[in-house]
Each structure stands twice: as structure tokens, then as C-alpha cells.
Symmetry: C2
């Protein structure tokens, strides 16, 4: 199966477009986890336990683990073991380097850690991206239009009258022989999301930026989905995992995740049924 097929089937089975971002920060988790042995992993395990029936994917931003060195790398690995089979795991590292080096990064994410998908930065071009694409069942979300303010510095620059991110998309489509490419498009950019869905009607989109970053959930679903109402992977991190810093953190996380899933499913009913 290609990644696109896998994602479609997981979203159908789970009836969810929601991806929960496990960007776990010791400063923000409930106090009980802060100094507990393996507290970060235990926090993640609890979040996964109460949200696993509500999501199509978990996304782990590598920076939040990498900043703790060897220990953090171990946390990443042990967290992944708690994700039930049949849910997509996304290693969000935005890597990219010359060919032989990108191959090492792909190996780290796919073989060593066992992620089902990853994110890649396109600035260095084809030979920096293609090593990530060698396994059709492994998804590769390439940065197109990001959710942050700095997106405007380069991604929107006009190249032959069209923004740079459109050129990125044209190239990605060319590299997508195995149907395992996806695109990252921020929920904070609904007009661009709409345009990108026209350009890449059948590609998986990873859509960050709802919740703490302020992106509009309705537009993310409306413009992010394919005509079949799927393949948008809408990520929420802080708004779910830090829904409460108290003892009710798990209930609060589940409540917020449930609300996000259901709200998105309502929009799917409105726009795609």
C-alpha cells in the first residue's frame, strides 16, 4: 500500500482527521509528571491512551525531544511504542540535506525510530528530498506554506508571477511517483490552502496551526480535504495536550480532542456529503 492509501484507510477507520501533536515540554505538563521517572513518556502515554480512538495520527516534533539529548531520544522511542498499531506516526523534523545525508536522516526516522511519516524542508531541492521517498508506505510531508509569520519572507515570493510555494508543489508532484508525498500547509493560511488543494487534488496535507496558532478549523477542513473529504491531517498540539495543567489533564485533553474531531466531522458533512 502507498502512504496515501494507508492514510485514507486510517482516516476512514478512525473516522477522524485529527492529529495530536505530542510536543511535550516539562515546563507545561502537570507537576506530577515533571520530576517523575520517565515523566514525559508517562504523560505522553496517558495522552495517547485517552485520545487514540479519536485521531488518525500523532505528530512528534523532534526538537522537543532533541533538546534533551540522549534522554530525549529515548523518550521519543518509548513514546512511539505506546501508539497503537493502525495510527499514523509523523516524525516532524523538517530535515533536508545533500543526498547521502538525507538518506541518513531517512534511516533515523524510518528504521531506527520507526515513524510512518516525516516532514521535509524543500530548500535544497530534489536530491535532498528523494532519499526520504524510497519506501512507498512511508509518507513525506514537504513544507509548502507554513503557519508561521516568517512564511511570507520566501514562500510567497513571486517566481514567474506565481508564489514560490506553487513551484515547490509542482516539483513535489513530479517526485511523487510512489504516491507517498504530502504537503505541509498552515491552517493560518486558508486562501493558500484552497489554492494548494486545487494544485494537488489528491495529495495528503499536514495542516498545523489550529488552536494556539489561531488557524480556522472550518476552513482547514473545507479547503484542506480532497473531494472525498479526506487526506487532510489537521494537527493540534498545545490546545489538546495542555488543555489543563491540573489532575484532570487527561479528561480535558480527551474533551478537546473529541470536540475537534467532531467539529471537523460536522464540516465534512457540510462540505463533502
Amino acid at each position: 500500500m502507498t502512504f496515501t492509501e494507508i492514510l485514507r484507510s486510517v482516516q476512514q477507520k478512525q473516522n477522524s482527521l485529527l492529529c495530536v501533536g505530542l510536543d511535550t515540554d516539562p515546563a507545561k505538563v502537570p507537576a506530577v509528571f515533571r520530576n517523575a521517572p520517565d515523566g514525559m513518556v508517562e504523560f505522553n502515554r496517558r495522552i495517547i491512551e485517552v485520545t487514540a480512538d479519536l485521531v488518525c495520527a500523532y505528530k512528534l516534533n523532534l526538537a522537543f525531544y532533541e533538546c534533551r539529548g540522549e534522554a530525549g531520544w529515548g523518550m521519543l522511542r518509548r513514546t512511539l511504542r505506546h501508539v497503537p498499531a493502525g495510527i499514523v506516526t509523523i516524525g516532524d523534523g523538517k530535515r533536508g540535506d545533500i543526498g547521502n545525508t538525507s538518506a541518513m536522516y531517512a534511516k533515523a526516522l524510518r528504521e531506527d525510530l520507526g515513524f510512518g511519516a516525516c516532514t521535509v524542508n524543500p530548500y535544497m531541492g530534489e536530491d535532498s528530498v528523494t532519499p526520504f521517498l524510497s519506501a512507498p508506505e512511508h509518507g513525506v510531508f514537504i513544507l509548502a506554506v507554513t503557519s508561521n509569520p516568517g512564511a511570507r519572507d520566501f514562500q510567497y515570493l513571486k517566481v514567474n508571477g506565481k508564489p514560490l510555494y506553487e513551484r515547490v508543489i509542482t516539483r513535489v508532484k513530479r517526485w511523487d511517483a510512489q504516491k507517498n508525498c504530502g504537503l505541509v500547509v498552515g491552517a493560518t493560511r486558508p486562501a493558500e490552502l484552497k489554492r494548494v488543494r486545487v494544485l494537488a487534488p489528491e495529495m495528503p496535507f499536514l495542516i498545523p496551526g489550529v488552536g494556539a496558532q489561531g488557524g480556522d478549523l472550518r476552513q482547514a477542513v473545507r479547503h484542506g480535504c480532497t473531494k472525498a473529504g479526506d487526506l487532510a491531517v489537521v494537527n493540534a498540539s498545545r490546545s489538546v495536550i495542555y488543555a489543563s495543567a491540573g489532575e484532570d489533564f487527561a479528561d480535558a485533553a480527551r474533551k478537546n480532542a473529541l470536540q475537534l474531531r467532531d467539529e471537523m466531522n460536522r464540516y465534512r458533512e457540510v462540505y463533502f456529503r
Copy 2:
């Protein structure tokens, strides 16, 4: 001191523009290190021992360590301990993410691992780069024109009649309030190197691509240096550390490093004295 001042002083003291890339691959080191306890670090230690008087910097590409997980992260850390004080260390990870996440990456590189400089990918714009710039003594080499074939896919695209990489440079100059920004410009691109030096006359350049990638050493020095004949950091990885796979690997590495340093210093005499 700013990173630019530090680099200038190290290059003067060491009388060298050479950076050795410790991109250590178990498949390529002499057999004796392959299965030895901490063999990769021991190999790196030996390379550092025989080249430390010949270089201004060591560059460690994180992918080569990251692909070994926790163990690799430990190798990175222990390798850095063997680098004598007064030599620049560059964590080559080409990271870049939204602001709060880039801050985590910066913390990993600067505080946790203790690198003196790093490389950053500019695609996500200002708020993805500036968290790396907060310590003036820490250098940040931002990708401008890379040495790989894929560089042409996006970096050369015309924006208002000028290549995208020129826009990157214009922006980097604006972000460089603390004089700790640098640029990555491939040695495989001498014409662009010349142009970039005109655009950024006093900025440190990290110049990969000589040796295995085929870049021209003479042009790297001629066009990569400032008018004072410095601030070009010319990286060689495979051509030094794998100079021989036999028992003479250390002698061969030193011989190649010495030759590179001396050849570069001859070009400095020719073009800058």
C-alpha cells in the same frame, strides 16, 4: 566577542581556513574501529588529534549521529569533548521551524551539546531563524547556495530578476544585528560564491563541496574570502577522514589536511597579500 570576531581570531591563530567534517560512517572507517567499544568516537578522537593544529573548525553533520539514535547522540557529545578549546565547532543540522520550536533546536545545539556554531535552513523565514541568533558568540550559517545538484530547483529561481538566494542574503543581512550570521555557499558554485561575497563582504561563509563533491579549492579561497583573506570556512569531510582505510588512516588524514591548508594559504598569498 561576536562570532565573526571569534572566527577571525581562530583563523589567524591557526593560520587556516580548513574545516574538517567529522561525518563518521561505520561502513567507511578502518576495520579496527568498526566493532571496537566506542569505535566511532575513538576514530574521531584520532582524526582530531592529528589535525587539530591544521584547522579553524570541525563540522559534525548531525545526520551521521542521529541515525544511531541515543548511542549516536552520545557519540556526538563525546566527540565534541575531544575538540581542543579555541577551535570552532559547527553543528550541521540545517534545522528550522516555527519560533518556539527553533528555540528548542537552538537550545539542543548550543546548551545541551555546546556547539559554537550551527547551520540553519531559511525556508520558513525570519521567526524560524532568529531564535538561533540570540547569543552573539554563537555562529549561525544560513543556507544560501548549496553544493548539491538540487540547489537549482529553488535557490536559483528568479525573484524580481534576481535568484532567490540573493533574497535570502538580503534578509540575512537584515537579521545580522549581532554579527553572528554566516552563509552556506557551495564550493561547487564558484560564480555564485563570487557574487555572494560581493553582496555580503564581511560575513563568514561555510563552504562545503571541495574534495568528494568536486568543488575547486582555488576558487573557494579566491571568491570565498573577505578582502582581508579570511572568514571563508572551507569544509572537507570524506577526502580527509577517509584518506586511507588502512592502518595509516591517521597519517593519511593529516597529510591531506595539511595539503589542503597549505594550498589554501598559498591562494591567500596570491589573492590577498
